[in-house]
């Protein structure tokens, strides 16, 4: 059995980064999941991001 199949045979403990719906789906399947509230610096605003880099 390949390593990846071993992984899916064991109990999953998931850290989800990105779309929150991925973690919601896992929760529905009663899997342990922690969603990381991540967002880009300054909401992705390049001008403010550049200012922050210098401050």
């Amino acid at each position: 059995m390949s390593k990846i199949n071993e992984l899916f045979d064991s109990e999953l403990k998931v850290i989800n980064l990105g779309l929150e719906s991925f973690s919601a789906e896992l929760k529905l399947q009663k899997k342990q999941v922690v969603h990381v509230e991540w967002r880009p610096v300054a909401g992705g605003n390049k001008k403010l991001g550049s200012i922050l880099d210098q401050l």
Partner: protein
């Protein structure tokens, strides 16, 4: 090099805040004690705003203030006078003062006098009128004016003589105590009001007033859980004002709302306001009212969050969720999330449930813009129309635009574009 200058300036700012010693020294009168105040000047909460742009509750409170001063006999006369240009409207913050909700201060109003004895500056605030139909929520009916007259003629004189006997009261220590007694110092002031009564009562009984007057005063304070709010606010105002003008500091030393706009001021940028339209509050409404009735965010009481309490100390005041909405875990999470956007842990205000960690204190505009996490504010909700009053309480955040504009202006001030 620039980053080091900012870090050093922010450290200096937070140390100034932690060294503050707000002390209640007595009571005075707005016209006599507040700088640059006169009969034809009306102070209000938040950043400066013209009569035409004022929200319903602020207009209502101003109309009530003009009637209380005897400058107008009724609503119509008050509106005419307000529109005439004869009255100067200005921000409480420009006069070392703060006011909850509409924050209206007129010449004859009695004011608490709080001195930050570490730096020698003073701050002023009116006496709290209670909840419901009150001037600060924009109500101006006969009962509102009658209560203001009683505050001026009975409550304030009794308290003034009491304070003359008791001597100054250390508010910093008292606020540190109330944070460990279930208050968060903004929207829950049960412990603070109780401690104040305990402090004053032994001296009040020794004053020259008759028992009926003393009893009325104690009954009024006892029946008004928010009585202490009008002391936490000038305490924090006096503690934060010394931060104004610390070069290179990116910490916020003022947040305030006038019901139309939310404004902030930054330690390194002096007296300049950064304003954006005020948000609508998400909260619990009194029976018969809904969000449709709510005015956008209003009041200077957000000075509490600026100083590291209020919404920032929710974990210390878990029962408050019954007043503003949410769960006990939400209260803890709100406090925890505020560490992401602040300079440090408060040296005096400790949260028992977080292993007595100091409350998150000193909002840094860089961290707010970087993380997208906005300060959380506990607040009351005023009806959008003049003359109605309070309709609920809840949680609100400032507009991000205030912080983004402040960051851009700060960058420009240090030669970055």
């Amino acid at each position: 090099m620039l980053k080091e200058k900012i870090e050093k300036a922010n450290q200096e700012a937070i140390e100034k805040l932690f060294k503050a010693q707000p002390t209640l020294t007595g009571l005075g009168t707005a016209e006599k004690d507040i700088p640059n105040m006169d009969k034809k000047t009306i102070l209000h909460a938040g950043p400066p705003v013209k009569w035409e742009k004022m929200s319903g509750p602020l207009k209502g409170a101003i109309m009530g203030g003009l009637i209380y001063e005897g400058l107008a006999k009724n609503e119509e006369e008050a509106i005419k006078l307000a529109e005439s240009g004869e009255i100067t409207f200005d921000s409480c913050h420009h006069h070392s003062a703060v006011g909850p909700m509409a924050g209206v201060i007129t010449a004859s109003m009695p004011v608490w006098i709080v001195e930050n004895t570490a730096f020698g500056n003073k701050a002023y605030c009116t006496l709290n009128e209670g909840l419901g139909k009150v001037l600060r929520y924009g109500a101006y009916s006969e009962e509102v004016i009658e209560r203001l007259n009683w505050i001026e003629k009975t409550l304030a004189p009794v308290l003034k003589e009491t304070m003359a006997l008791s001597g100054p009261i250390d508010l910093q220590t008292m606020i540190a105590q109330v944070i460990q007694m279930g208050d968060e110092g903004h929207n829950r002031n049960k412990a603070g009001t109780s401690l104040l009564i305990r402090e004053l009562a032994p001296y009040m009984v020794q004053t020259s007033f008759d028992n009926r007057e003393k009893s009325d005063v104690l009954t009024f304070m006892h029946g008004n859980d928010h009585f202490f709010l009008n002391l936490t606010m000038p305490a924090f105002k006096s503690s934060l004002d010394p931060l104004e003008g610390i070069p290179y500091s990116t910490l916020v030393y003022t947040m305030a709302r006038n019901g139309t706009e939310f404004g902030i001021r930054i330690a390194g940028l002096g007296n300049r306001w950064f304003n954006a339209p005020a948000e609508v509050i998400d909260g619990l409404f009194f029976p018969g009212y809904t969000m449709e009735d709510a005015n956008p965010d209003i009041g200077d009481s957000v000075i509490c969050e600026t100083a590291g309490v209020g919404g920032f100390a929710m974990a210390a005041a878990i029962p408050i969720v019954q007043f503003v909405g949410g769960t006990p875990q939400d209260a803890i999470n709100f406090t925890k999330s505020m560490y992401e956007i602040t300079q440090g842990e408060n040296a005096s205000f400790k949260v028992p449930v977080l292993d007595f960690k100091g409350t998150p204190t000193g909002i840094d505009i860089r961290k707010v813009v970087e993380t997208g996490i906005l300060p959380v504010i506990n607040t009351g909700i005023a009806h959008k129309d003049a003359g109605v009053g309070q309709v609920g309480a809840g949680l609100v955040r400032p507009p991000m635009k205030c912080f983004e504009d402040a960051l851009e202006a700060f960058a420009e001030s240090v030669g970055i574009s």
